[in-house]
């Protein structure tokens, strides 16, 4: 769908939400919601998106919305979807609905991981969207298992002897694929049509679908607000955030940079990696490059692409 056609879809997520200026969770949510063709019930884990979009007595959601707690967005929407199936089976309702659960990387990779895994295994007809900004941004930038290696966060601070987060991030998209659910995609908003297409596929999938979407947090990444979308492109061009989908077990690459860029270009634009450019830390950048290359080659191989 061309964007000017997409613009004719109805607005489901309104302005007046209180996400930070330049928060990329905004366009991610807006575009995904526009890809839904049915009325929806949206669930959200406690986090930036939830807090900013539903401050009593306001809601930025034009669809029904439920926030329950931090770690149970998938379980909560499981219950909503089960109610829908039950009521429909009994002839008590007729409309078709889409079911969407949103979570940040905290609510998805970490505290909500069990509830997500359970919901996916049970096969609920729902789309789970992780807007991954790589730390617990809502509570002030604490590290998560999605935080990239080397990042300076408030619980993995760069100090005199430790240079930020010590571990590589968890590859949640692969873990979700290992649930053998019908549709999984790892994607970025700088390709809005690809994002909407993936969301559309996810909504049309019978059964569970999972979208892992990179969403810049200017505050936590220590980056400029206007660079939010651009940074997601840099992430794709440096291959730190490969874009791919797994449809019924088939891996497919969704974006291949014309010329793969060094990770330094990604790191240099974000204050959270600033300390890595100090003398003596060169090996960390080398490690990150090596890890990124290895991961990229793995993705290419899984997707049947030539390295």
């Amino acid at each position: 769908m061309k964007l000017k056609e997409a613009a004719k879809t109805s607005e489901r997520f309104t302005g007046g939400h209180r996400l930070c200026s330049g928060c990329v969770a905004g366009p991610v949510t807006n575009l995904i919601m526009r890809a839904s063709k049915n009325p929806a019930v949206v669930g959200a884990a406690t986090g930036c998106l939830e807090v900013s979009s539903s401050i009593y007595p306001y809601t930025a959601w034009k669809d029904s919305f439920i926030h329950n707690a931090f770690e149970n967005s998938a379980a909560t929407v499981s219950g909503v979807e089960a109610a829908y199936r039950s009521l429909k089976k009994q002839g008590k309702m007729e409309e078709d609905f889409d079911f969407i659960a949103f979570g940040g990387d905290g609510g998805t990779y970490d505290i909500g991981f069990q509830s997500l895994s359970g919901a996916m295994e049970r096969g609920h007809d729902m789309v789970y969207v992780c807007y991954d900004n790589g730390a617990y941004m809502n509570t002030g930038i604490q590290r998560s298992s999605a935080t990239p290696k080397g990042a300076n966060t408030t619980t993995s601070p760069a100090g005199k002897v430790i240079a930020g987060k010590q571990q590589y991030r968890k590859e949640l998209t692969d873990i979700m694929a290992a649930h053998n659910i019908p549709y999984v995609a790892q994607i970025s908003p700088f390709k809005p049509q690809e994002l909407m297409k993936a969301a559309q596929k996810a909504f049309e999938t019978k059964g569970p679908a999972f979208l892992n979407v990179l969403a810049t947090c200017p505050r936590g990444w220590r980056s400029r607000a206007e660079k939010g979308i651009e940074l997601t492109k840099v992430a794709a061009d440096t291959c730190v955030w490969p874009m791919f989908e797994i449809e019924n077990g088939e891996w497919k690459l969704l974006y291949k940079p014309r010329k793969k860029k060094p990770v330094e270009e990604w790191l240099r634009q974000q204050g959270r990696f600033k300390h890595l450019f100090k003398r003596g830390n060169e090996h960390i950048i080398e490690d990150i490059q090596e890890h990124t290359d290895k991961r990229w080659n793995y993705i290419l191989e899984r997707c049947g692409e030539r390295q």
């Binding site: 964007l3 000017k4 309104t14 007046g16 807006n30 939010g228």
Partner: protein, 94 residues
């Protein structure tokens, strides 16, 4: 619509919000220090600014990007200007 100062007998129970999408009534335009100005002459109607706007403030009517930006909600992040392939959007001081 619940109003500031309403008492417990006057508001829906349990924190229910019965007016879906009413955040639109909440103005975030005051957060802005710079505002985007769209030059229709330069605009190629690619809709990237529409897609990328975090505040759903770039409006499109019948498939055409409008130069009437929703300043009630635009927080002035500048993504639209940064992403415009033809530099049709300029950020100017409020």
């Amino acid at each position: 619509m619940v109003k500031p100062g309403d008492g417990y007998k006057d508001i829906p129970i349990g924190g229910l919000i019965l007016d879906a999408g009413n955040a639109k009534e909440y103005k975030t335009g005051g957060w802005r220090t710079k505002k985007p100005i769209l030059d229709k002459e330069k605009c190629i109607n690619c809709h990237l600014c529409w897609a990328f706007c975090p505040d759903i403030s770039i409006l499109s009517e019948d498939g055409v990007v409008s130069d009437q930006i929703d300043y009630d909600h635009c927080k002035g992040c500048g993504i639209c200007a940064n992403e415009c392939p033809v530099n049709a959007i300029e950020m100017v001081k409020e």
